[in-house]
Symmetry: C2
């Protein structure tokens, strides 16, 4: 007696979680220390001490009834102001508190934005490969995903294909920067090109096309690469942010959405997104967590930790003959499968106790994703297993 | 460029919040101490000290990466087990941790259950008067609300009308116990009758009809009245619970849903609700809050505080000639408007600085709701204003 939508969701239920469960079953059989689980994007860099101190200080000093009570569905005014101030300072923007809506992480934010803008059978354009849950978020509101191909081997978006895929049913475009699962960072040039195409298409079809920029990995960028702030290029942009990766707190569900002043009729849209936050059942972002992140807007977990893992794993795997785009952000490697059907490659890797995720999950068969947000020690111990695997495929030069 | 659904939500946007805002505007004009705001169901009894201590202890003793990290989308196993144990102990049930899914409050729980079971144009039966947000939760998943009339003046459900309103399109029934906005508590006899009717209708239409019992006010019951646990009467029951009122923590968004072993195919349903928790964007209930409530399952705010307010306001208003069902639970009075159009009564009350909410919000025109989860002192100071109002309507005996 499940709904048709739910049956669809169950059929397409997260292959990532499935691999994580298989990894745990394997660990129970052969010992956790002998399983090399690269399946889940669960942060491994320690939580900044400032976050813990902020929680303790807030709980000890603030009135508990106010601290844990209802506030405006968009969040505490002083929290929204602090977020706006921080963004203005860092990116030269002119946001007010009214432009910030605190949300239950990025997943909550994307859902309430889609709720506010998507009609049944509206199209949402996505760039392959992409986080598979976007499909669920779009289907919740009866929209349809339209996929744009990447350029290979760079995994930058194919902008000609992008332009072809937009038509009068296109209500929104969603992109992730830095990208899960490739680790690619879209440059200012790429984002400006996307903006120009969207401006042209808006004029052609005479309605807004909204861009959602999903930035949970914004702070996880390496080699000094720039992650541009997209509202500068395109007014009808929602910026989606989560503190999950920056502060290593994904279980706490805290993030925000920016509805910039450059968006058409932004006050109405900010109000709609706020009401969507309520009617979708979020009501508001968790109150204590709002206050805690407001005190940690300049804090980050140890990004160097992920950077060291990135170099170690990328250098080792490419040295063994595996092919992989060099990631500049996030904490994933997207490796080309040495055989066409990457699911067989995933199965063979598992025989070496290596838990990888099939690229089909990200609408990109022929590849696998490795999450390197793991203990460095596990990566080091896993390398002989990767070597054995490379030898099986005759990759080692 | 808002979606049609969103325009519907905005048009029907919470009149309760609207009155709260009007009350704040009035307070800015005439002084907060001169406004008697009975609009919002925001708890006023102090947060139990044990909750604050639980938060501090957890933050100071648990590993921060685990504490704030991802867990199973249904919640931490030990938290789910603690909730199951507590319910088993208190209500003589036989729940396991697999029957408990931790959620973002009751609003989140209702949405993920509807997501799991509602197809487009499925009917959901509701009992007038009811919390108006149910309409939004049903419309999120393109279901339709079918309203059952109450018996007057008791505000118990009209069971004959209930039976008439169920047909083959009925997928679910939702009830609130104790009831917002009337404070009525449904007795075991009433609930058993509802269960018998549903059993008969399930057999007649040969499909499951799910009962959602929304119990955020379960602990707020007075005069020793019993709030029966409905899974005992009807297997296909989802019990929805929130800690918002029990612990005075509505901003924290923490609750759970029970998928009982008596439900048809309950394992599949529990899995579906868990996946719905993820794909709707909640992912999981906030992690720190899960751990905190697990340590406070026997804690309550000072229920006596609400009871004293109840007696004070009920006795005073009925003494002035206002008509009102005597509430046995929650923290609301549902007062009959002395003129047919209760919106005019609300407007006239506002001239006396009394902020009430129109019964139309609850699909029950001709009545107004007063939330007495306020400082007792405010109730006392408001009584002369109510007296003036009663005199205007020639109510005072």
């Amino acid at each position: 007696m499940l709904s048709k939508q739910m049956l669809y969701n169950l059929e397409n239920s997260s292959a990532i979680r499935q691999m994580f469960i298989e990894g745990q079953e394997l660990a129970a059989r052969v010992g956790a220390e002998n399983v090399y689980d690269f399946s889940l994007g669960n942060p491994a860099a320690p939580v900044p001490e400032a976050f813990t101190q902020a929680l303790l200080d807030i709980i000890q000093t603030e009135d508990s009834l106010t601290l844990h009570g209802y506030m405006n569905n968009a969040g505490y005014p002083e929290v929204r102001q602090a977020v706006a101030d921080s963004l203005n300072r860092r990116f030269g923007l002119s946001l007010g508190m009214e432009n910030i809506i605190m949300t239950n992480g990025a997943a909550g934010a994307i859902n309430i934005v889609f709720k506010a803008i998507l009609d049944v059978e509206d199209d949402v354009v996505v760039f392959r490969p992409y986080f598979g849950e976007y499909r669920s978020y779009v289907s919740n509101w009866h929209g349809r995903c339209v996929e744009v191909d990447p350029l290979l081997p760079s995994f930058q978006p194919d902008l000609e294909d992008f332009e072809r895929k937009i038509d009068e049913r296109t209500k929104a475009v969603i992109l992730n920067n830095p990208v899960n699962p490739t680790g690619v960072v879209y440059s200012a040039e790429t984002l400006e090109s996307i903006a120009r195409i969207l401006e042209r298409k808006q004029a052609e079809y005479r309605h807004e096309i909204y861009l959602l920029v999903d930035e949970p990995y914004r702070e996880l960028a390496y080699d000094g690469v720039d992650v541009p702030y997209v509202t500068k290029f395109y007014g009808n942009t929602f910026v989606i942010y989560s503190f999950s990766k920056t502060l290593s707190v994904p279980g706490e569900r805290i993030g925000y959405v920016v509805v910039p002043p450059a968006m058409a009729d932004w006050e109405n849209m900010a109000n709609a997104v706020t009401v969507a936050n309520r009617v979708c059942g979020f009501i508001n972002a968790p109150s204590l967590l709002q206050k805690a992140v407001a005190r940690c807007l300049d804090e980050k977990c140890d990004i160097g930790f992920y950077d060291r893992n990135r170099r170690l794993l990328y250098d080792a795997l490419t040295g063994m003959g595996f092919q992989c785009v060099r990631p500049e952000g996030a904490f994933y490697l997207f490796v080309r499968s040495p055989e066409e059907n990457e699911k067989q490659f995933v199965a063979r890797a598992k025989k070496h106790n290596l838990i990888l995720v099939s690229g089909s999950t990200f609408s990109m068969p022929g590849y696998v994703r490795l999450a390197y947000c793991v203990k460095t020690d596990m990566i080091q111990r896993s390398l002989p297993a990767f070597e054995d695997l490379a030898r099986e495929y005759n990759l080692i030069p």
